[in-house]
Amino acid sequence: MSSTPVPPSSPSAAHGEGQHANHNLTGFIIFLCSESVIFLAFFSGYAILRLAALDWLPAGVDGLEWRMPLINTVVLVSSSFTMVLAEHFKGKGKIWLFRGFWLLTMAMGAYFLYGQAVEWSGLTFGFTSGTFGGTFYLLTGFHGLHVLTGILLMGLMLAKSFVPGNYDGGEQGVIATSLFWHFVDVIWIILFVLLYVWRA
């Protein structure tokens, strides 16, 4: 997806390659809109199954513990703010502050994944424990994959910030990663409400 840098003197920059980075961002936003539908499908599937269920919780399960996921939620939501700060410093040209806050965002994402893993390992039900277990692991697992992807994308952007002159022409990768991260964040908030806040 990375565009080949074109020397400004090249005549083709006028209409072709020069706008290419812009196309990347447009394409990425279109992709994100499409990606949100798959979450919408999972959310509505969860809601339909839950509303129709006679016994939602499998035998021996009292419900989900919500304290640890709440801490996780706070960490993930704050990581969106640290990311905005990082972008702010990048806009001011303070590249080291950008890297610092960017790395902090990555660490918060990683902590979220760690918290998720701890929660999973303490659960008494599995993927095949009825629709309750199935939807829980499907939703959190699919969201977790997106968090992992976001962290990897951030790592890539961090590495690219050390390439001299990489951010001179454009910064589409950073904007795209940040959009993706906010998207993952919003999805988590909906997911948290559906899984943990919604009581029968």
Partner: protein
Amino acid sequence: MTSTALSPEPPASWRRYFGFSTDAKVIGIQYIVVAFFFFLVGGLLAMIMRGELITPEADLVDRTVYNGLYTMHGTIMLFLFIFPVLNGLNNLLIPTMIGAPDMAFPRLNTAAFWLVPVFGILLIASFFLPSGPATSGWWSYPPVSLQNPLGHLINGEFLWVLAVALSGVSSIMGAVNFVTTILRMRAPGMGLFRMPVFCWTALAAQTLQLIGLPALTGGAVMLLLDLSVGTSFYRPEGGGDPVLYQHFFWFYSHPAVYVIILPVFGIFSELFPVYSRKPLFGYVYVCLASFIIVGLGLIVWVHHMFPSGVTQWMRNLFMVTTMLIAVPTGVKVFAWLGTLWGGKIRLTTPMLFCLGGLFNFVFAGITGIMLATVPIDIHVSNTYFVVGHFHYVIYGAAVMGVFAAIYHWFPKFTGRMPYEGLGKLHCLLTFVGANLSFLPMHPMGLMGMPRRVSSYDPEFAFWNVLASLGGFLLGVSIIPFLLNMISSWARGPKAPHNPWNAIGLEWLLPSPPAEDNFGEHVPTVISRPYGYGTGEPLVEHQADIERALTLQEAIR
């Protein structure tokens, strides 16, 4: 890219069609050729089925084999023929029609294309599994699709879900590319309301792909987990709901028929003005109607589920929304009739295909309204009436439109003229074959013959014999097409840049166009498309561009 931009000569080597090319025009032809390979495979399965149904007894193939035949026929024709062939046309036409050098993301385009043979081979490979291919129909409803009697992890259904998921990935990659290209790479002066209708319909269809496909993919992931991991999303014994799958499936697969038919509407809208020498009647309304179809198309899916135990208010609601679709569609049909009215009609092969396709489409639209009516639908659900309606839409209208497009734009992208005689023979055989095969399915269905059976009551034999003869005629009809394509590409007469006297950016390019189309000399669009009979030029310096092209052809 820069080296070829300087030379006006089109690239000549045929080898580039056999490798990983990033040129949209090469990828377009690759898509179309691969799609027609799978068309022959899917068609062969249909021939075996019609051979089986020519007698009431199940005598030609085993019943389990028959289940595999119709499942694979439907899956191959939709995911490996019609979507790839339309993506091929999108690749050829979108960049040339809007004056872009290539797609927005050429490498993504290559990857999207090469996924097609990959999932095609995966799907075909399921014929060679000990448990055989998937046998639960192209919609793969649970609980039938969740049965795995041999208990193998890799079974026909598993490969089916995998292939459909990969097809979804490929289509999403394509859709992101087409939408970005249309939105951001149009020629100077080409506002949205100066864009050819084919691009409007492609934009509408790809928007539907972006909204609908993720739902099917999500549903398919859950089906795969139920099948292979043992979750119970769709298993009632674990609290799941098989009807939930139907919602996911039809939320995409009903709009999928608009993904198929919208570009064909675009083809009709492009071709009728050319061959009746009149501007498209109601251009703006035809463009907007595409997006009204998108909006309504997303809220009609439950009409496939009237007998699936949905509540009465849902049945009523979705009956009304489905019937409303007839309004924007009717706008288009009347726009085409208004274009033809009083025009100077030329009955070339592409025009004949368009007229035949329009005739079949109107018929399919009428049976569609019948099917949307809840009482009729419940009566004819799961009978041949549905099969007949669907094949009128897909073969009668969409495939005929695709053939029209191929004959119309063949000279542009190959540089050779197709033979008219063979083309007209192809058109006649297709039109007669389609009507002879699919019309008898309607009385058959009204009499109550269920679909997906290999043996039936002898009272249905007469209509089945007719349908089988029509089916075999369709099988024969493909022979003049293939002969025409191969021989005219190899040694047909050289095509001028604008053999049909058509108006459009693609006709201001040499045939075949250079690798980067207009390169750096993209003309500025100064008027609406389809200015037939008005004498208004489409672009600045149009006369100079045409003179240069004619000169170039004279010295060639």
